[in-house]
């Protein structure tokens, strides 16, 4: 067996051990990654009509062709980030008011009643109650609509930072 082959096998084994989220909440959260804002996908600005309009407009100001392309792409990329920022801000994850406000202690008899037809043990009731309690804790930790939209928008800071740096660099070097 060659060294490269061994290394590749070892890498694959290690990758199996360590990649991806492990907890249920981690998996649930990461399963929604690509659906949230779409800023991780590679955009094709060059074929859009806005790109041509911008390119011509910037070219009139005496920038070189390369600078025009850089500035137009930078501007469209920045707009894309800010549009995602707006969408994230205006549509935060909805609050589950029932789960947030429910009294878990009072719900124990309800769980017992629900589980008793199957002859379940008190252990099952406890597990169910603790599962709901953990869901409630998560729901409360997220806070109300304003807290949610703040934390969701906060995740886009790095995209905004990269977008504006790229645009500003293109304009200043052009």
């Amino acid at each position: 067996m060659t060294m490269n082959h061994r290394r590749s096998l070892a890498n694959r084994c290690n990758a199996l051990k360590s990649t991806g989220p492990r907890s249920v909440t981690g998996k649930r959260s990461s399963s929604q990654n690509s659906r949230k804002h779409g800023l991780n996908t590679a955009p094709d600005f060059e074929s859009s009509s806005e790109y041509r309009v911008l390119f011509d407009l910037i070219a009139e100001e005496g920038f070189s062709t390369f600078a025009c392309a850089d500035i137009a792409t930078g501007l469209l990329n920045y707009r894309r980030v800010m549009d995602a920022y707006y969408d994230t801000y205006t549509s935060p994850e909805p609050v589950d008011e029932f789960l947030r406000d429910a009294n878990m202690k009072a719900s124990n008899p309800v769980f017992r009643e629900l589980l008793s037809p199957s002859g379940s043990e008190p252990q099952d009731v406890r597990e169910m109650a603790s599962f709901f309690a953990s869901m409630q804790r998560q729901e409360r930790r997220k806070g109300g609509p304003v807290s949610r939209r703040s934390s969701d928008t906060h995740k886009l800071i790095r995209y905004q930072r990269n977008g504006i740096s790229r645009l500003s660099r293109a304009v200043r070097q052009g």
Binding site: V53, L57, E60, E97, V146, S165
Partner: protein
Amino acid sequence: MLYNVHFGIYVDVAMSVEDKSKSLLPFLSSPKLLPDESEAEFQSDLQSLLSELDNPSPLAVVLISQLNECLWWIKRHTVDKELLLHEAMARLLSREGTNWMGSGNSKLSVALEHYLEGSAHKDEADLIEEALINANLTLSDLRARAFKDVARHIKMVDDLIHRQHQTIRHLQRSIDSIDYKSRLIKRMDLELAALESKQSMKGVLSLDDEPS
């Protein structure tokens, strides 16, 4: 090349500020505002920013409109900081009260919002005062506790505001560089015109000298 550049800028300068911002509408589209915000106010802010620049180029207009949007985001996030506190105060009141299980939380938070604005009806004010008495808290105690609870989110909003300030700085630098470039070209044009007039004067003088 210089002439081309000059010509390009000359054409743009001939347009009014309003025309320039309108000519960019396909790119800018209409501003994305929240339901309770006024577009007229947004546009008037934009126009006042544009009027501060002497003959802004189309690219400068685009950058200034982005800058205006950043200013609006700062306003929105500043309002959010207060809203976060109100949200936490309402949550604390409903938690401390006896009405723990029911659906009184949203009613309480609306009442608290009105109470803090000073526009609460008598029954809303009574509800809040009763909840405060039940929780054995004053309004300032409640606010302090809410601040402690929601500090993490307030920090996030501060980060968002800080980010907008940084973005504004970047945009200002970009606008400055465009402005400097156009002024440099204007100056070079003036120098060129001065040289040309000097040359022509010299030519006239030399023609005058020739017969002698």
